[in-house]
């Protein structure tokens, strides 16, 4: 047939179909009069009219069905990338896992390759993106994801670390682990889950077969976040086809409400239940129940909170999961008020010590019988007064005797009130006020602490004869309270005379060293590093000359001195001192101790300051792990390390991770110290700085301004930290072409730094240079040139970067 003929047929068919069927024959008689073949062909087609549409519709539908079937066909595998497939390791709803080894013989490496059924994959771009995110997870307890891609037939695959191990539950059974050992094993799992959650990755499918333990006892989590690579439909189908055991899949996974970190917490609870004997200890049972609560809100807020409770169980400390248990609550009451109970015991100690002094006094002074009787009577009266006072407090503290559960603060306040009406001698009262002041410092209530410390001094001055040593300690208490409350002038005024007096009174060495360390620390806090260094060196000299060189005290002094040197950029000696302090603390306190962690953090920070980031990262990670285990994640010391680690990540260019860490840190700090604390403001500055480096200028500016506002209200004017934020904000304004406003901030920053550090300091130079930029941008060329020349002159090779708190 030719195209022309077909065109004719087309026209005829069209025309005929417009006619009623019984008219068509007549029409064709005329139209095809000279061509019977043409007429036959057209009639043949017209005859199909009644069936064609239905046929084609059915056929089209079926073809698409077939097409789907085609796409659904799994493909054979022998080789994937550079790997030769050895055999199937396992098969699941989402695909098949193969063991493979490198085919090019370059490395002896075995890997696990998971090939997913194509239809389970959501958008391919998303698959690639997620895969990249997962590849960044690097944790000793998480099987690494090395690579991923598509097979020639389009099936997505991922190449993972091959783990030769057995499911955690089998491992525990086979090795006959004790309950504590099982819990410890699960803590490793929690560790990995927490790590992933910090990287915003949820596992979604935690179960024993995904938690393997190697023969060396190393926990490895498989398939982290793999579930996320799946399309939502696929996830639903998979669940419908092979329902998860309810122990591991959280209810929200069935209802499709959405998975969160709480989903993994639920699964962790399932793992715990599976690891425990049928009748588990009550605490562990409660922990498992709480983790597996039906609604996500009722579960632990995080994998970390779950782990914290497990750790509490291991150290036989009350667990939070049983907080509503009645007997338990009573026990917890004691726990909560341990500080006050400790205080009461301390007071008892004070009283008995004082009694001891009296008794000794009686013996040694060979008082007359009359005096002795008076003294004894007085002593009995004192003891009784104090005892009544304590009994009152105890009664108040007992559960059920107050309309509402008393807080620790209530108790301390009550203790202070009753102390006013206590009839006791000035020395007893002085000692008790001093104790209360210490407690209030620990509670962060510095004003009350300072009042009470002052009261203790007043009381002791009333004794006759004045006990100079007791008075020295009371004044030290005032200094301590003032320093803790950032009343620096007052603290310094109190501390300075105490240094020579400690020598004159020939106080024990510890006190003499301690008072110097304290003064050094006070000066350091005010950025007066050179002065601080002088006291640090003197403390070290006193300690090494008169005391034990191999001692924790030496370590303490060396640690603090190193910090003053670090801030003056004397890195060499600072590092030597820190390593000395670290070695001392490790050998005297053990490898795992919060003091060890502290020095290690400082060392890591020092390395980071020198640009030795990889070394720094190792120390930071070590420190964080130690502090998390020893102190928990919300402890101020842990938070400081987190801050420093987040800074390091920024220096390393991992901005997203740095931002996540800082935001997490800000939440924790807001909870712990509130948003009007100077440290909170510093953290805001650091977050802003990360945003700045990540070129998120608008967000950075907003946070710098917030940091500045917070610092101005929470810090003394002229504080170096304010200068830091001023410089950073000024720099950002220069960069975003707003030099006029920048000039205002940078000038203020320069004034602060010049006054604090002088001209030859990195911070001063940095402020100078950015100010020069802003001058240049506003056209004040000569001023810019002078400033730039001056800055260049003193400029040694310091890396140019924003300042951190």
């Amino acid at each position: 047939m030719t195209a022309d003929r077909w065109t004719r047929i087309t026209t005829l068919v069209d025309a005929a179909l417009d006619l009623p069927p019984d008219h068509r024959s007549t029409f064709l008689d005329t139209a095809c009069a000279d061509d019977p073949d043409l007429r036959r062909e057209v009639e043949d087609l017209l005859a199909a009219d009644t069936e064609a549409d239905a046929f084609l519709e059915a056929r089209a539908t079926r073809d698409v069905e077939r097409l789907m079937a085609h796409l659904n066909t799994p493909e054979p595998l022998e080789r994937i990338g550079p790997y030769r497939v050895l055999h199937v390791l396992g098969q699941g709803g989402m695909g098949t896992v193969y063991l493979a080894e490198r085919a090019d013989g370059l490395f002896e490496q075995r890997v696990a390759i998971k090939v997913m059924q194509p239809q389970h994959i959501a958008h391919l771009d998303r698959f690639r993106l997620e895969q990249q995110v997962l590849a960044r997870l690097s944790h000793p307890h998480i099987a690494r994801l090395y690579d991923g891609g598509l097979t020639p037939k389009g099936a997505p695959y991922i190449i993972m670390e091959y783990v030769d191990g057995q499911p955690i539950t089998d491992f525990a059974t086979q090795r006959r682990l004790t309950t504590d050992e099982r819990v410890a094993l699960l803590l490793s799992v929690c560790d990995a889950v927490q790590y992933a959650h910090r990287h915003l990755i949820i596992h979604r499918d935690l179960k024993p077969s995904n938690v393997l333990v190697t023969s060396e006892g190393q926990v490895k989590l498989l398939d982290f976040g793999i579930a996320k690579l799946m399309s939502d439909e696929a996830a639903t189908i998979t669940q419908a086809a092979s329902p998860h055991t309810p122990r591991f899949a959280a209810p929200e996974q069935h209802t499709g409400v959405g998975t969160t970190t709480a989903t993994d917490v639920f699964a962790l609870g399932g793992l715990l239940t599976d690891l425990l004997p049928e009748k588990p200890p009550a605490d562990l049972y409660a922990i498992g129940q709480k983790a597996q609560a039906g609604s996500p809100e009722a579960r632990y807020a995080s994998a970390e909170a779950f782990a914290d409770d497990l750790r509490r169980y291991l150290s036989r400390v009350p667990v939070s999961a049983r907080a509503h248990d009645r007997v338990y609550r009573a026990r917890r009451f004691v726990w909560r008020h341990r500080l006050v109970l400790g205080l009461l015991l301390l007071m008892l100690g004070v009283i008995s010590a004082l009694s001891g002094v009296y008794l000794t006094g009686l013996r040694d002074a060979r008082d007359t019988a009359q005096t002795a009787a008076d003294r004894a009577e007085e002593q009995v009266a004192q003891t009784e007064a104090v005892r009544d006072y304590l009994v009152d407090l105890f009664e108040l503290a007992a559960p059920g005797n107050a309309p509402q559960p008393l807080t620790t603060l209530d108790l301390v306040d009550r203790a202070a009130q009753q102390l006013d009406s206590l009839s006791a001698t000035p020395d007893v009262r002085g000692a008790m006020y001093q104790t209360l002041a210490m407690v209030n410092v620990r509670l962060g209530r510095y004003e009350q602490a300072l009042d009470q410390a002052e009261e203790s001094v007043r009381q002791l001055q009333r004794t006759a004869p004045v006990d100079s040593i007791a008075l020295w300690h009371a004044r030290r208490g005032v200094a301590h309270a003032a320093k803790s409350g950032d009343v620096w002038d007052r603290a310094e005024a109190e501390l300075r005379p105490l240094v020579p007096e400690s020598d004159r009174l020939n106080l024990p060495l510890d006190d003499r060293v301690d008072i110097r360390v304290m003064l050094g620390d006070l000066l350091w806090r005010q950025s007066r590093y050179a002065e601080a260094e002088a006291f640090g060196r003197e403390a070290l000299r006193v300690q090494e000359t008169y005391g034990e060189a191999i001692s924790t005290t030496t370590a303490d002094i060396a640690n603090d001195l190193a910090l003053t040197l670090q801030y003056q950029e004397q890195y060499g000696e600072a590092e030597r001192l820190l390593r000395q302090a670290l070695a001392l603390r490790q050998s005297l306190l053990g490898e795992r101790h919060m003091q060890v962690a502290l020095t290690m953090n400082n060392l890591a920070q020092l390395l980071s300051d020198q640009g030795r980031y990889d070394d720094a990262a190792i120390y930071f990670e070590h420190t964080l792990a130690m502090e998390r285990d020893l102190l928990g994640l919300d402890h101020p010391q842990t938070l400081t390390t987190m801050n420093n680690f987040a800074l390091l990540r920024r220096y390393q260019g991992a901005y997203a991770e740095s931002e996540v860490l800082f935001r997490d840190l800000l939440d924790r700090r807001a909870q712990a110290i509130g948003t009007d604390h100077p440290v909170y403001a510093m953290t805001v500055n650091n977050l802003a700085h990360t945003l700045h480096d990540a070129k998120q200028d608008e967000a950075a500016e907003q946070e710098y301004r917030r940091a500045l506002r917070l610092k101005r209200t929470s810090m003394n004017a002229g504080h170096a930290s304010i200068g830091i934020t001023l410089t950073n904000l000024g720099r950002l304004l220069v960069e975003t072409y707003r030099p006029v406003e920048a000039e205002v901030y940078l000038t203020e920053a320069l004034d602060i730094f010049e006054a604090r550090f002088g001209l030859d300091h990195g911070r001063t130079r940095s402020a100078q240079r950015w100010l020069a930029h802003s001058y240049a941008a506003t056209g004040a060329c000569d001023r810019a040139e002078i400033l730039a020349t001056e800055s260049e002159r003193t400029f040694t090779r310091t890396p140019e970067r924003c300042m951190v708190d």
Binding site: A48, A52, D63, V64, T73, A234, A772, E785
Partner: protein, 211 residues
């Protein structure tokens, strides 16, 4: 300006390009509309991939629903690949090409099936995968459809396009007209004849025996 020289290390802001996810298909479509036919060749594989991806997902979500609508399928591909704010006309142009891609997928399916029948490279495979092969008893008539379409292409390329749009993308007469820049009566006339012709070509040569 000496001061500018002194301060040559004033920070330069790096402009960084923002890749748009729909850029490729979008740009190609614009080129196509501007009369660049080569753009169609470039667009086809993109759509092909997307259709396959969507088809895979649909297979899962609608495994019990046999009234799978090809229009919906192609539509989804459009939304994935092209900026959703584009007009209806672009959408239809896209669909015409998508219909071609569907046709290509079906050809691949036919090839894969005949390869399996001949025992292709499947046999040596050491691993057995979960899913069953497609039903071997099915009539293998995808090749017949393709043969018919190729014949039609020789007789009237325009009608072949119309069939693609109607058969693979499920477009209406009006939509097909827009998609192919034809008038509605032309499309209607083409379709009327072509579908009958197609039906005749695809009829089993030996109808099942009647009792």
């Amino acid at each position: 300006m000496p001061c500018v020289h002194t301060l040559s290390w004033l920070p330069a802001r790096q402009p960084h390009p923002m890749p748009a996810p729909h850029d490729d298909a979008d740009r190609l479509l614009a080129r196509l509309r501007a009369g660049d036919d080569a753009a169609m060749e470039a667009l086809l594989p993109l759509i092909y991939d997307e259709l396959k991806a969507i088809a895979r997902r649909r297979r899962v979500s609608e495994r019990h629903d046999h009234t799978l609508n090809t229009t919906a399928l192609v539509h989804e591909a459009f939304l994935k690949l092209v900026d959703g704010t584009r007009g209806w006309n672009d959408r239809l142009h896209f669909m015409a090409i998508a219909a071609r891609a569907m046709r290509q997928i079906l050809i691949d399916y036919g090839r894969a099936r005949s390869a399996q029948k001949r025992g292709g490279d499947w046999v040596r495979v050491p691993v057995t995968l979960a899913h069953a092969l497609p039903n071997q008893a099915e009539d293998d008539d995808t090749e017949a459809l393709e043969r018919a379409l190729q014949q039609l292409e020789r007789l009237s390329p325009r009608q072949a396009r119309v069939v693609e749009c109607r058969y693979f993308a499920g477009l209406t007469i009006a939509e097909t007209a827009s998609a192919l820049d034809l008038s509605e009566p032309t499309v209607k006339r083409d379709w009327r004849a072509a579908r009958l012709w197609l039906y005749r070509q695809l009829q089993p040569t030996e109808p099942p025996a009647q009792p």
